[in-house]
Protein backbone atom coordinates (compact mmCIF):
# COMPACT_ATOMS: atom_id res chain seq x y z
CA UNK A 1 0.00 0.00 0.00
CA UNK A 2 1.15 3.52 -0.79
CA UNK A 3 1.09 6.44 1.63
CA UNK A 4 -1.69 6.61 4.19
CA UNK A 5 -3.72 9.79 4.49
CA UNK A 6 -1.59 10.80 7.48
CA UNK A 7 1.40 11.23 5.18
CA UNK A 8 -0.17 12.95 2.17
CA UNK A 9 0.79 16.53 1.32
CA UNK A 10 -1.99 18.89 0.25
CA UNK A 11 -0.93 18.48 -3.38
CA UNK A 12 -1.36 14.70 -3.14
CA UNK A 13 -4.97 14.80 -2.00
CA UNK A 14 -7.62 14.02 -4.58
CA UNK A 15 -9.67 17.00 -5.81
CA UNK A 16 -12.29 17.79 -3.18
CA UNK A 17 -10.55 15.39 -0.76
CA UNK A 18 -12.50 12.64 -2.54
CA UNK A 19 -11.76 9.10 -1.39
CA UNK A 20 -11.10 6.92 -4.42
CA UNK A 21 -10.20 3.70 -2.60
CA UNK A 22 -12.59 1.91 -0.23
CA UNK A 23 -11.86 0.89 3.33
CA UNK A 24 -9.85 3.93 4.47
CA UNK A 25 -11.52 3.88 7.86
CA UNK A 26 -9.34 0.84 8.63
CA UNK A 27 -6.41 3.22 8.94
CA UNK A 28 -7.98 5.17 11.73
CA UNK A 29 -6.69 4.13 15.15
CA UNK A 30 -9.81 4.47 17.28
CA UNK A 31 -7.91 2.66 20.03
CA UNK A 32 -6.43 6.07 20.85
CA UNK A 33 -9.71 7.04 22.49
CA UNK A 34 -9.48 4.27 25.11
CA UNK A 35 -9.04 5.01 28.80
CA UNK A 36 -9.90 1.49 30.02
CA UNK A 37 -9.01 -1.80 28.36
CA UNK A 38 -10.75 -5.20 28.41
CA UNK A 39 -8.74 -8.10 29.88
CA UNK A 40 -10.18 -11.61 29.51
CA UNK A 41 -9.73 -14.32 32.15
CA UNK A 42 -9.69 -17.44 29.96
CA UNK A 43 -10.37 -19.63 33.03
CA UNK A 44 -13.84 -18.08 33.32
CA UNK A 45 -14.45 -17.82 29.54
CA UNK A 46 -16.95 -20.35 28.15
CA UNK A 47 -16.23 -19.37 24.51
CA UNK A 48 -19.84 -18.31 23.96
CA UNK A 49 -18.85 -15.35 21.72
CA UNK A 50 -21.27 -12.89 23.35
CA UNK A 51 -18.53 -10.24 23.55
CA UNK A 52 -17.70 -10.81 19.86
CA UNK A 53 -21.35 -10.28 18.90
CA UNK A 54 -21.92 -7.23 21.10
CA UNK A 55 -18.73 -5.30 20.30
CA UNK A 56 -20.01 -2.19 18.46
CA UNK A 57 -16.69 -1.75 16.66
CA UNK A 58 -16.12 -5.35 15.60
CA UNK A 59 -12.83 -5.03 17.44
CA UNK A 60 -13.03 -8.47 19.11
CA UNK A 61 -11.61 -11.46 17.27
CA UNK A 62 -11.50 -15.18 17.97
CA UNK A 63 -8.11 -16.75 18.71
CA UNK A 64 -6.96 -20.13 17.41
CA UNK A 65 -7.85 -21.70 20.76
CA UNK A 66 -11.40 -20.38 20.49
CA UNK A 67 -11.04 -17.64 23.09
CA UNK A 68 -11.81 -13.98 22.37
CA UNK A 69 -9.52 -10.94 22.50
CA UNK A 70 -9.87 -7.25 21.70
CA UNK A 71 -7.81 -5.70 18.91
CA UNK A 72 -6.43 -2.73 20.82
CA UNK A 73 -5.76 -0.79 17.59
CA UNK A 74 -9.54 -0.32 17.31
CA UNK A 75 -10.99 -1.07 20.80
CA UNK A 76 -12.32 2.20 22.26
CA UNK A 77 -12.72 0.70 25.75
CA UNK A 78 -16.50 1.15 25.89
CA UNK A 79 -16.87 -1.82 28.26
CA UNK A 80 -19.93 -3.35 26.56
CA UNK A 81 -18.12 -6.70 26.28
CA UNK A 82 -17.44 -6.76 30.04
CA UNK A 83 -21.01 -5.74 30.78
CA UNK A 84 -22.52 -8.45 28.58
CA UNK A 85 -20.17 -11.35 29.47
CA UNK A 86 -22.39 -14.01 31.16
CA UNK A 87 -19.52 -15.34 33.32
CA UNK A 88 -17.89 -11.96 34.19
CA UNK A 89 -14.71 -13.19 32.50
CA UNK A 90 -13.85 -9.67 31.19
CA UNK A 91 -12.49 -6.98 33.46
CA UNK A 92 -11.92 -3.35 32.37
CA UNK A 93 -8.45 -2.21 33.48
CA UNK A 94 -7.35 1.45 33.68
CA UNK A 95 -4.91 2.43 30.94
CA UNK A 96 -1.83 3.82 32.60
CA UNK A 97 0.99 5.31 30.62
Amino acid sequence: MSKTRQDLTWQELEVGATLITPGNSDEYKSGDWRSIRPVVDNKKCIKCGTCYIFCPDAAIYETEEGFFEADLYYCKGCGICANECPTQAIEMIEEEE
Partner: protein, 393 residues
Protein backbone atom coordinates in the same frame (compact mmCIF):
# COMPACT_ATOMS: atom_id res chain seq x y z
CA UNK B 1 -23.19 39.71 -33.22
CA UNK B 2 -26.11 38.58 -31.12
CA UNK B 3 -29.49 40.28 -30.92
CA UNK B 4 -29.82 43.33 -28.67
CA UNK B 5 -33.02 43.09 -26.66
CA UNK B 6 -34.65 45.32 -24.06
CA UNK B 7 -35.48 42.94 -21.25
CA UNK B 8 -35.70 42.79 -17.47
CA UNK B 9 -32.26 41.82 -16.16
CA UNK B 10 -33.70 38.81 -14.31
CA UNK B 11 -35.19 37.45 -17.52
CA UNK B 12 -32.04 38.00 -19.53
CA UNK B 13 -30.05 36.28 -16.75
CA UNK B 14 -32.40 33.30 -17.06
CA UNK B 15 -31.91 33.33 -20.82
CA UNK B 16 -28.15 33.20 -20.26
CA UNK B 17 -28.61 30.20 -17.95
CA UNK B 18 -30.59 28.58 -20.77
CA UNK B 19 -27.76 29.30 -23.22
CA UNK B 20 -25.35 27.66 -20.76
CA UNK B 21 -27.50 24.54 -21.26
CA UNK B 22 -27.73 23.65 -17.57
CA UNK B 23 -28.99 20.21 -16.60
CA UNK B 24 -30.75 21.08 -13.38
CA UNK B 25 -32.22 24.11 -11.67
CA UNK B 26 -33.03 23.60 -8.00
CA UNK B 27 -34.32 26.72 -6.31
CA UNK B 28 -36.78 28.09 -3.82
CA UNK B 29 -38.46 31.43 -4.50
CA UNK B 30 -37.34 34.47 -2.54
CA UNK B 31 -37.58 38.16 -3.42
CA UNK B 32 -35.75 39.65 -5.35
CA UNK B 33 -34.43 36.47 -6.97
CA UNK B 34 -37.92 35.28 -7.99
CA UNK B 35 -38.13 36.41 -11.61
CA UNK B 36 -34.94 34.59 -12.58
CA UNK B 37 -36.20 31.25 -11.32
CA UNK B 38 -39.76 31.84 -12.52
CA UNK B 39 -38.52 32.46 -16.03
CA UNK B 40 -36.33 29.36 -15.93
CA UNK B 41 -39.34 27.27 -14.87
CA UNK B 42 -41.19 28.63 -17.90
CA UNK B 43 -38.30 27.80 -20.20
CA UNK B 44 -38.18 24.24 -18.89
CA UNK B 45 -41.96 23.88 -19.00
CA UNK B 46 -42.32 25.05 -22.59
CA UNK B 47 -39.49 22.81 -23.77
CA UNK B 48 -36.99 25.56 -24.60
CA UNK B 49 -34.55 24.25 -22.01
CA UNK B 50 -33.97 20.52 -21.57
CA UNK B 51 -33.28 20.46 -17.83
CA UNK B 52 -34.76 19.18 -14.60
CA UNK B 53 -36.52 21.92 -12.67
CA UNK B 54 -36.73 20.87 -9.03
CA UNK B 55 -39.01 23.07 -6.91
CA UNK B 56 -37.38 22.16 -3.61
CA UNK B 57 -38.91 22.75 -0.17
CA UNK B 58 -36.13 25.03 1.08
CA UNK B 59 -32.84 26.66 0.10
CA UNK B 60 -30.99 24.07 2.14
CA UNK B 61 -32.41 21.51 -0.27
CA UNK B 62 -31.73 23.75 -3.26
CA UNK B 63 -28.02 23.74 -2.54
CA UNK B 64 -28.04 20.07 -1.51
CA UNK B 65 -29.68 19.09 -4.79
CA UNK B 66 -27.23 21.27 -6.70
CA UNK B 67 -24.35 19.51 -4.93
CA UNK B 68 -25.75 16.11 -5.92
CA UNK B 69 -26.34 17.21 -9.51
CA UNK B 70 -22.80 18.51 -9.81
CA UNK B 71 -21.39 15.40 -8.13
CA UNK B 72 -22.86 13.14 -10.81
CA UNK B 73 -21.29 15.31 -13.49
CA UNK B 74 -24.24 17.44 -14.52
CA UNK B 75 -24.43 21.23 -14.76
CA UNK B 76 -26.23 22.79 -11.78
CA UNK B 77 -27.73 26.23 -11.35
CA UNK B 78 -29.37 27.81 -8.35
CA UNK B 79 -30.32 31.25 -7.27
CA UNK B 80 -31.23 32.92 -4.01
CA UNK B 81 -31.11 36.04 -1.82
CA UNK B 82 -30.57 37.03 1.78
CA UNK B 83 -32.33 34.67 4.23
CA UNK B 84 -32.40 31.99 1.54
CA UNK B 85 -28.62 32.14 1.46
CA UNK B 86 -28.55 31.84 5.23
CA UNK B 87 -30.70 28.75 5.10
CA UNK B 88 -28.42 27.09 2.54
CA UNK B 89 -25.28 28.26 4.34
CA UNK B 90 -24.19 24.82 5.55
CA UNK B 91 -24.14 23.33 2.06
CA UNK B 92 -22.61 26.46 0.49
CA UNK B 93 -19.42 25.73 2.41
CA UNK B 94 -19.56 22.00 1.66
CA UNK B 95 -19.97 22.49 -2.10
CA UNK B 96 -16.75 24.52 -2.14
CA UNK B 97 -14.83 21.95 -0.12
CA UNK B 98 -16.05 19.18 -2.42
CA UNK B 99 -14.91 21.29 -5.41
CA UNK B 100 -18.26 21.13 -7.15
CA UNK B 101 -18.65 23.81 -9.86
CA UNK B 102 -22.18 24.91 -9.02
CA UNK B 103 -23.11 28.38 -10.28
CA UNK B 104 -25.40 30.59 -8.21
CA UNK B 105 -26.80 34.02 -8.89
CA UNK B 106 -27.21 35.90 -5.65
CA UNK B 107 -29.75 38.69 -6.04
CA UNK B 108 -28.28 40.75 -3.22
CA UNK B 109 -30.70 41.69 -0.45
CA UNK B 110 -30.28 42.81 3.16
CA UNK B 111 -30.04 40.31 5.94
CA UNK B 112 -32.97 40.84 8.29
CA UNK B 113 -33.71 42.33 10.70
CA UNK B 114 -35.41 44.61 10.63
CA UNK B 115 -37.11 42.63 7.91
CA UNK B 116 -36.10 43.99 4.53
CA UNK B 117 -36.53 42.77 1.00
CA UNK B 118 -34.35 45.52 -0.48
CA UNK B 119 -30.83 45.62 -1.75
CA UNK B 120 -27.48 45.76 -0.05
CA UNK B 121 -24.50 43.43 0.23
CA UNK B 122 -24.98 42.15 3.76
CA UNK B 123 -26.05 38.74 2.45
CA UNK B 124 -22.95 37.96 0.41
CA UNK B 125 -20.63 39.41 3.02
CA UNK B 126 -22.07 36.96 5.56
CA UNK B 127 -20.58 34.14 3.49
CA UNK B 128 -17.50 35.98 2.27
CA UNK B 129 -15.30 33.17 3.55
CA UNK B 130 -17.25 30.28 2.03
CA UNK B 131 -14.60 29.38 -0.56
CA UNK B 132 -16.61 30.24 -3.69
CA UNK B 133 -15.36 32.44 -6.51
CA UNK B 134 -17.36 35.66 -6.15
CA UNK B 135 -17.95 38.35 -8.75
CA UNK B 136 -20.07 41.50 -8.82
CA UNK B 137 -21.93 42.97 -11.78
CA UNK B 138 -22.49 46.59 -12.78
CA UNK B 139 -25.34 46.06 -15.23
CA UNK B 140 -27.57 43.57 -16.99
CA UNK B 141 -25.18 42.89 -19.84
CA UNK B 142 -22.49 41.97 -17.38
CA UNK B 143 -24.86 39.58 -15.63
CA UNK B 144 -25.66 37.87 -18.91
CA UNK B 145 -22.02 37.57 -19.97
CA UNK B 146 -20.92 36.46 -16.53
CA UNK B 147 -23.32 33.51 -16.44
CA UNK B 148 -21.46 31.93 -19.38
CA UNK B 149 -18.14 33.07 -17.94
CA UNK B 150 -19.12 31.48 -14.61
CA UNK B 151 -19.52 27.95 -15.99
CA UNK B 152 -16.39 28.31 -18.11
CA UNK B 153 -14.30 29.24 -15.05
CA UNK B 154 -15.96 27.06 -12.42
CA UNK B 155 -15.65 23.92 -14.55
CA UNK B 156 -12.03 24.54 -15.63
CA UNK B 157 -9.93 21.51 -14.79
CA UNK B 158 -7.57 23.54 -12.61
CA UNK B 159 -10.38 25.35 -10.81
CA UNK B 160 -13.41 23.09 -10.10
CA UNK B 161 -14.93 25.54 -7.67
CA UNK B 162 -18.41 26.99 -7.31
CA UNK B 163 -19.06 30.59 -8.35
CA UNK B 164 -21.43 33.30 -7.13
CA UNK B 165 -22.56 36.10 -9.42
CA UNK B 166 -23.72 38.97 -7.22
CA UNK B 167 -26.36 41.20 -8.74
CA UNK B 168 -28.00 44.03 -6.84
CA UNK B 169 -31.58 43.12 -5.99
CA UNK B 170 -34.23 45.33 -7.66
CA UNK B 171 -31.61 47.88 -8.74
CA UNK B 172 -30.46 45.36 -11.33
CA UNK B 173 -32.84 42.40 -11.12
CA UNK B 174 -36.02 44.36 -11.75
CA UNK B 175 -34.94 46.95 -14.29
CA UNK B 176 -35.25 46.68 -18.04
CA UNK B 177 -31.96 47.14 -19.84
CA UNK B 178 -30.74 46.54 -23.37
CA UNK B 179 -28.85 43.25 -23.36
CA UNK B 180 -27.00 41.76 -26.29
CA UNK B 181 -27.59 38.01 -26.46
CA UNK B 182 -24.92 35.60 -27.65
CA UNK B 183 -25.22 33.53 -30.79
CA UNK B 184 -25.44 29.79 -30.18
CA UNK B 185 -22.13 29.30 -32.02
CA UNK B 186 -20.44 31.82 -29.74
CA UNK B 187 -21.57 29.86 -26.67
CA UNK B 188 -20.31 26.62 -28.22
CA UNK B 189 -16.99 28.26 -28.98
CA UNK B 190 -16.63 29.68 -25.48
CA UNK B 191 -18.10 27.09 -23.14
CA UNK B 192 -16.97 23.46 -23.41
CA UNK B 193 -18.98 20.59 -21.96
CA UNK B 194 -18.52 19.87 -18.27
CA UNK B 195 -15.85 17.19 -17.71
CA UNK B 196 -15.83 16.43 -13.99
CA UNK B 197 -12.74 14.98 -12.31
CA UNK B 198 -14.60 12.68 -9.93
CA UNK B 199 -18.24 11.66 -10.27
CA UNK B 200 -20.67 9.54 -8.29
CA UNK B 201 -20.75 6.54 -10.58
CA UNK B 202 -21.79 3.01 -9.45
CA UNK B 203 -19.22 1.50 -11.80
CA UNK B 204 -16.39 3.48 -10.25
CA UNK B 205 -17.40 4.18 -6.66
CA UNK B 206 -15.81 7.03 -4.70
CA UNK B 207 -16.62 8.79 -1.45
CA UNK B 208 -17.22 12.53 -1.70
CA UNK B 209 -17.49 14.72 1.36
CA UNK B 210 -15.98 12.16 3.72
CA UNK B 211 -14.58 12.79 7.18
CA UNK B 212 -11.38 14.83 7.35
CA UNK B 213 -9.57 13.92 10.54
CA UNK B 214 -7.24 16.49 12.14
CA UNK B 215 -4.26 14.86 10.42
CA UNK B 216 -5.66 15.67 6.96
CA UNK B 217 -8.10 18.56 7.45
CA UNK B 218 -5.53 21.38 7.13
CA UNK B 219 -4.10 19.81 3.98
CA UNK B 220 -7.62 19.53 2.56
CA UNK B 221 -8.23 23.23 3.28
CA UNK B 222 -5.00 24.33 1.59
CA UNK B 223 -5.93 22.07 -1.35
CA UNK B 224 -9.16 24.10 -1.53
CA UNK B 225 -7.68 27.59 -1.07
CA UNK B 226 -4.76 27.21 -3.49
CA UNK B 227 -6.93 26.53 -6.56
CA UNK B 228 -9.16 29.44 -5.51
CA UNK B 229 -6.16 31.77 -5.43
CA UNK B 230 -4.79 30.33 -8.66
CA UNK B 231 -8.18 30.65 -10.36
CA UNK B 232 -7.42 34.34 -10.92
CA UNK B 233 -5.36 33.59 -14.01
CA UNK B 234 -8.12 31.35 -15.40
CA UNK B 235 -10.61 34.14 -14.67
CA UNK B 236 -8.51 36.75 -16.47
CA UNK B 237 -8.10 34.45 -19.48
CA UNK B 238 -11.81 33.61 -19.54
CA UNK B 239 -12.75 37.31 -19.53
CA UNK B 240 -10.18 38.03 -22.24
CA UNK B 241 -11.52 35.26 -24.49
CA UNK B 242 -15.08 36.37 -23.77
CA UNK B 243 -14.05 39.78 -25.09
CA UNK B 244 -12.48 38.23 -28.18
CA UNK B 245 -15.77 36.50 -28.97
CA UNK B 246 -18.43 39.08 -28.07
CA UNK B 247 -16.39 42.27 -27.98
CA UNK B 248 -16.89 43.17 -24.32
CA UNK B 249 -13.76 42.99 -22.20
CA UNK B 250 -13.94 42.58 -18.42
CA UNK B 251 -11.21 42.76 -15.81
CA UNK B 252 -11.00 41.89 -12.10
CA UNK B 253 -10.55 45.58 -11.32
CA UNK B 254 -12.23 48.04 -13.63
CA UNK B 255 -11.13 51.67 -13.71
CA UNK B 256 -12.75 54.86 -14.94
CA UNK B 257 -10.85 58.12 -15.47
CA UNK B 258 -8.16 57.25 -12.94
CA UNK B 259 -5.42 58.99 -14.94
CA UNK B 260 -3.79 61.58 -12.66
CA UNK B 261 -6.69 61.29 -10.23
CA UNK B 262 -5.82 62.32 -6.70
CA UNK B 263 -8.96 60.79 -5.26
CA UNK B 264 -10.53 57.49 -6.25
CA UNK B 265 -13.92 56.11 -5.39
CA UNK B 266 -13.95 52.34 -4.85
CA UNK B 267 -17.22 50.50 -5.44
CA UNK B 268 -18.75 47.06 -5.90
CA UNK B 269 -21.80 46.21 -7.97
CA UNK B 270 -24.26 48.65 -9.49
CA UNK B 271 -22.89 51.66 -7.57
CA UNK B 272 -20.13 51.68 -10.18
CA UNK B 273 -22.32 53.10 -12.93
CA UNK B 274 -23.77 55.79 -10.67
CA UNK B 275 -20.34 56.85 -9.45
CA UNK B 276 -18.98 56.99 -13.01
CA UNK B 277 -21.50 59.81 -13.62
CA UNK B 278 -20.38 61.46 -10.38
CA UNK B 279 -16.78 61.29 -11.56
CA UNK B 280 -17.76 62.99 -14.82
CA UNK B 281 -19.58 65.74 -12.92
CA UNK B 282 -16.74 66.31 -10.45
CA UNK B 283 -14.17 66.31 -13.26
CA UNK B 284 -16.27 69.01 -14.96
CA UNK B 285 -15.92 71.01 -11.75
CA UNK B 286 -12.16 70.58 -12.01
CA UNK B 287 -11.84 67.95 -9.27
CA UNK B 288 -9.19 65.29 -9.67
CA UNK B 289 -11.39 62.21 -9.26
CA UNK B 290 -11.59 58.69 -10.67
CA UNK B 291 -13.28 55.39 -10.00
CA UNK B 292 -12.10 51.86 -9.26
CA UNK B 293 -14.70 49.10 -9.45
CA UNK B 294 -14.04 45.76 -7.81
CA UNK B 295 -15.60 43.13 -10.05
CA UNK B 296 -13.74 40.10 -8.66
CA UNK B 297 -14.24 39.81 -4.90
CA UNK B 298 -12.83 36.34 -4.26
CA UNK B 299 -10.08 35.58 -5.00
CA UNK B 300 -9.28 39.22 -4.24
CA UNK B 301 -7.18 40.74 -7.03
CA UNK B 302 -4.44 42.22 -4.83
CA UNK B 303 -1.95 43.11 -7.59
CA UNK B 304 -4.55 44.63 -9.88
CA UNK B 305 -6.01 46.70 -7.04
CA UNK B 306 -2.59 47.97 -5.93
CA UNK B 307 -1.72 48.90 -9.49
CA UNK B 308 -5.00 50.73 -10.08
CA UNK B 309 -4.63 52.78 -6.90
CA UNK B 310 -0.85 53.25 -6.91
CA UNK B 311 -0.97 56.94 -7.87
CA UNK B 312 -3.93 57.96 -5.70
CA UNK B 313 -3.66 60.13 -2.60
CA UNK B 314 -7.14 59.40 -1.29
CA UNK B 315 -9.48 56.44 -1.57
CA UNK B 316 -13.18 56.74 -0.82
CA UNK B 317 -14.39 53.20 -0.25
CA UNK B 318 -18.13 52.72 -0.56
CA UNK B 319 -19.48 49.75 1.35
CA UNK B 320 -22.99 48.40 1.17
CA UNK B 321 -22.52 46.14 4.18
CA UNK B 322 -21.46 46.36 7.80
CA UNK B 323 -18.86 44.54 9.83
CA UNK B 324 -20.45 45.18 13.22
CA UNK B 325 -17.91 46.42 15.69
CA UNK B 326 -15.19 46.33 13.07
CA UNK B 327 -13.33 48.85 10.93
CA UNK B 328 -16.28 49.79 8.75
CA UNK B 329 -17.43 47.79 5.75
CA UNK B 330 -15.91 44.50 4.54
CA UNK B 331 -14.56 46.05 1.33
CA UNK B 332 -12.75 48.82 3.21
CA UNK B 333 -11.27 46.34 5.66
CA UNK B 334 -9.85 44.24 2.83
CA UNK B 335 -8.51 47.29 1.05
CA UNK B 336 -6.75 48.59 4.14
CA UNK B 337 -5.08 45.20 4.52
CA UNK B 338 -4.20 45.10 0.82
CA UNK B 339 -2.45 48.46 0.95
CA UNK B 340 -0.92 48.15 4.42
CA UNK B 341 2.82 48.83 4.41
CA UNK B 342 2.68 49.72 0.73
CA UNK B 343 4.61 52.65 -0.66
CA UNK B 344 2.69 55.95 -0.77
CA UNK B 345 -0.23 54.42 1.06
CA UNK B 346 -3.29 56.59 0.34
CA UNK B 347 -5.68 58.03 2.91
CA UNK B 348 -8.59 55.63 3.12
CA UNK B 349 -12.03 56.91 4.05
CA UNK B 350 -14.99 54.58 4.24
CA UNK B 351 -18.70 55.30 3.87
CA UNK B 352 -21.41 52.76 4.50
CA UNK B 353 -24.50 53.66 2.50
CA UNK B 354 -27.34 52.31 0.42
CA UNK B 355 -28.41 49.81 3.07
CA UNK B 356 -31.72 48.09 2.36
CA UNK B 357 -32.03 49.82 -0.98
CA UNK B 358 -31.88 53.37 0.32
CA UNK B 359 -31.15 55.54 -2.70
CA UNK B 360 -27.68 57.00 -2.99
CA UNK B 361 -27.93 59.67 -5.66
CA UNK B 362 -25.32 61.54 -7.65
CA UNK B 363 -25.66 64.46 -5.23
CA UNK B 364 -25.10 62.07 -2.31
CA UNK B 365 -21.88 60.83 -3.85
CA UNK B 366 -20.74 64.41 -4.46
CA UNK B 367 -21.47 65.08 -0.80
CA UNK B 368 -19.50 61.97 0.15
CA UNK B 369 -16.59 63.26 -1.94
CA UNK B 370 -16.53 66.60 -0.09
CA UNK B 371 -16.89 64.90 3.29
CA UNK B 372 -13.99 62.58 2.45
CA UNK B 373 -11.72 65.47 1.49
CA UNK B 374 -12.56 67.18 4.80
CA UNK B 375 -11.98 63.97 6.77
CA UNK B 376 -8.58 63.40 5.22
CA UNK B 377 -7.38 66.77 6.57
CA UNK B 378 -8.04 65.48 10.09
CA UNK B 379 -6.05 62.26 9.63
CA UNK B 380 -8.80 59.79 10.43
CA UNK B 381 -8.05 56.52 12.17
CA UNK B 382 -8.86 53.19 10.59
CA UNK B 383 -12.07 52.73 12.50
CA UNK B 384 -13.39 56.21 11.67
CA UNK B 385 -15.84 55.17 8.99
CA UNK B 386 -19.16 56.88 8.46
CA UNK B 387 -22.71 55.65 8.11
CA UNK B 388 -23.68 58.11 5.38
CA UNK B 389 -27.00 59.89 5.63
CA UNK B 390 -28.11 58.35 8.92
CA UNK B 391 -30.36 60.67 10.90
CA UNK B 392 -28.91 61.59 14.28
CA UNK B 393 -25.34 60.59 13.38
Amino acid sequence: MGKRIGLEVSLSAAEAVKMANVDCIAAYPITPQTHIVEHLSELVNNGELDAEFIPVESEHSAMSVSAGVSAVGARAFTCTSSQGLSLMNEIVHIVASMRLPVVMILANRSMSGPISIWNDHTDVMSIRDCGWIQVFANNGQEVFDNVLFAYRVAESQNVMLPLIINIDGFILTHVIEPVEFWEKEQVEQYLPNFSPIHTLDPDKPVTMGGVGMPYVFSEAKVAQDEPLKQSKSVIITAWKELGDIVGRYYKPIETYRIEDAETLFVTQGSFGETVSLVVDALRDEGKSVGLVMDRLWRPFPFDEFREATSQAKNLIVIDRAISYGGQGGPLAIDIRSTLYKGENQPNITNFICGLAGRDVTIDDFKNIYHKAIEKVKKHPREEDFEYYGVRGK
